[in-house]
Amino acid sequence: MNTMQVSFGEKKDNAAQAEHAVKMSARDVKVFYGDNEALHGINMDILENEVIAFIGPSGCGKSTFLRCLNRMNDTIDTARVTGLVTLDGKDIYDRSLDVVQLRAQVGMVFQKPNPFPKSIFENIAYGPRLHGLVDNKRDLDEVVESSLRRAGLWDEVKDRLEAPGTGLSGGQQQRLCIARAIAVSPEVILMDEPCSALDPIATSIIEELIDELKGSYTIAIVTHNMQQAARVSDKTAFFHLGNLVELNDTREIFTNPQDSRTEDYITGRFG
């Protein structure tokens, strides 16, 4: 297995902290699948209201790291996470913290659109109802409408809220999933290759949406598409073989990569 252990994270972050507060941070995060170490000590700060993109070749650990941020790795029996991950300075792996509450704060959008096989309305209403965020039907209607509006889906579905969410097109389904995540008012939204199953037009709509959302949310997005990373993100983190190779402003990464591996990857020499 890979024995390289490189971490550039810390050095780069200090400069950026001047602008935004640190929303989430990771210190020496390692993930094991059984005996296999998939992530080798990641250090990273994610700043408030910025979009950070994770790029890297397949199997580099970018999705694994993303899933550490809302403890989705807990659902994999063999997965084990060490190190420190904090949200607003609080350890999210602390025993006293309820994972349900964490996931209400750190929402997630998955690679494949996965609306519930229920109506569009029920898809959005599920989260607020689950967490008791609304007291009556009117509040719920409001939350559903505003979430759908923010996801840019309202005009397309307002007349058929009772239609099944699975009947929408792929791009609409993914925006429905984003609206569903927004409906519980999270602070951070994690997106795991949200456009990989979508056509170019749907992709560009989602990208515009991400741009609009970053004013209110902190967004971490995993992507295979380097143009997408360049278009939507403020920061880009390049992962390779379970290491965070480079983390910098997106412009810097794409124009002036510090590490030869980053350069090789973004110029298409591997990956």
Binding site: D77, R103, G107, M108, N114, F116, Y126, L130, H131, R180
Partner: protein
Amino acid sequence: MTPSDSEQTKTQQPDLMDLAQKRDLMQQRVAASLKRRHASEKRFRLYGMAAVTVALSFVAILFITILSKGLPAFWQATLTLDVYFDPEIIEIDEKPVRQPGESDGAFQQRMLAWQTDLGFVNFNRIILNSLAEVLPEAPRYQRDAMRLVTSGERFGLRQLVEDNPAIVGQTLRLKLLADANVDVWLKGNIDRSLPDSQQQLSARTRAWADELAERGIIRNQFSTALFMNADSRSSLASAGLAGAFMGSLMMMLIVMFLAVPVGVASAIYLEEFAPKNRLTDLIEVNINNLAAVPSIVFGLLGASVFILWFKLPLSAPIVGGLVLSLMTLPTVIIATRSTLKAIPPSIRQAALGIGASKVQSVFHHVLPLAIPGILTGSILGVAQALGEAAPLLLIGMSSFVASVPGSPFDQSTALPVQIYLWQGNELRNFFEARTSAAIIVLLALMISLNALAIWLRRHFETRW
């Protein structure tokens, strides 16, 4: 053109030729192999069609034989007679009526005494008198005459009087079931040319049966005896399935309310919540093994645990239900688990990602999607239990039970066991049809259960 150039073209030209030739050759080979492939495809299709045809024809043969044998049993030789409830024969007091201030015990005692009196009444005499109306010779050959009517009918008459004593002194036109042997004789299920010594009925009874049939007094009529009565050995013509049906129904209810919830709950736990370790692996292997255990072994288990240890009654539906539940559990667990496995993980992730707890994600999202599969698996499990006879033999349910069970603790038998019992009855000529009729009832139940399973699956199916 330089020499080198011309050389090049020379060497190229044959190459091109070569390539064209090669391609031709390849095309020929492909064409040749194509022929072979098409032939094998055709052959395979023919095999498939032949297999389906053979299977279908066997099913058709099965259904045709069972229906052609069994359906006639629903119509039985029946005598239509004017029955005079002669007050001289039925010498009983007025039916006791509860006096004001009378205690429960006292009233019941008087009632019992009255019923005992009624029990002493010779209802055979009444039947004989009615027969005498149509067959003047009947009183002289009492034995031969009484063989015409099945012996259970006198209890039917007694019941009529007990229910409504006012009919004493009246004449009622009643339908009385003919004896099983009369039915056999009239339906031609016995060789009419056999000598007297080999006939079940005397020559006189046979002649009378023919005569009454000709006069329209004995007719082949639809009989509810098969559905309303319990099994009988003294009055074969009125032997019915009611007891076995009730027994089977009770056992099915027990299986439904025991095996299905327990099985579904264990499957949900094992699939969704249990940690994956050696212990759960061992449990899984054991469940799969249990599903393959011959059902008769579960009967042995039931006999030793429920009857010998828990002291539950022999031949009781409660024990049968417990045994069948044990047998059905692995089926339900396996069906439920495979259904749960088939639910896409994206649904679980979506629920968890939004902050649902594990239990919420399972009960709000996974389970509703799994319901059609769970229902189908459970119903098929129950249907399998319904058709099972082997384990019931070992817990005493193969005994002859002449009453309809009122509770799961009463003695009873079950439909498949009843089929087995009737199949072994000595009066083959009569019971062959009755056995097939019982099979028809069982098959009808099975088919309706399976249809229900299909309907439920269609009804609850959700796409994702």
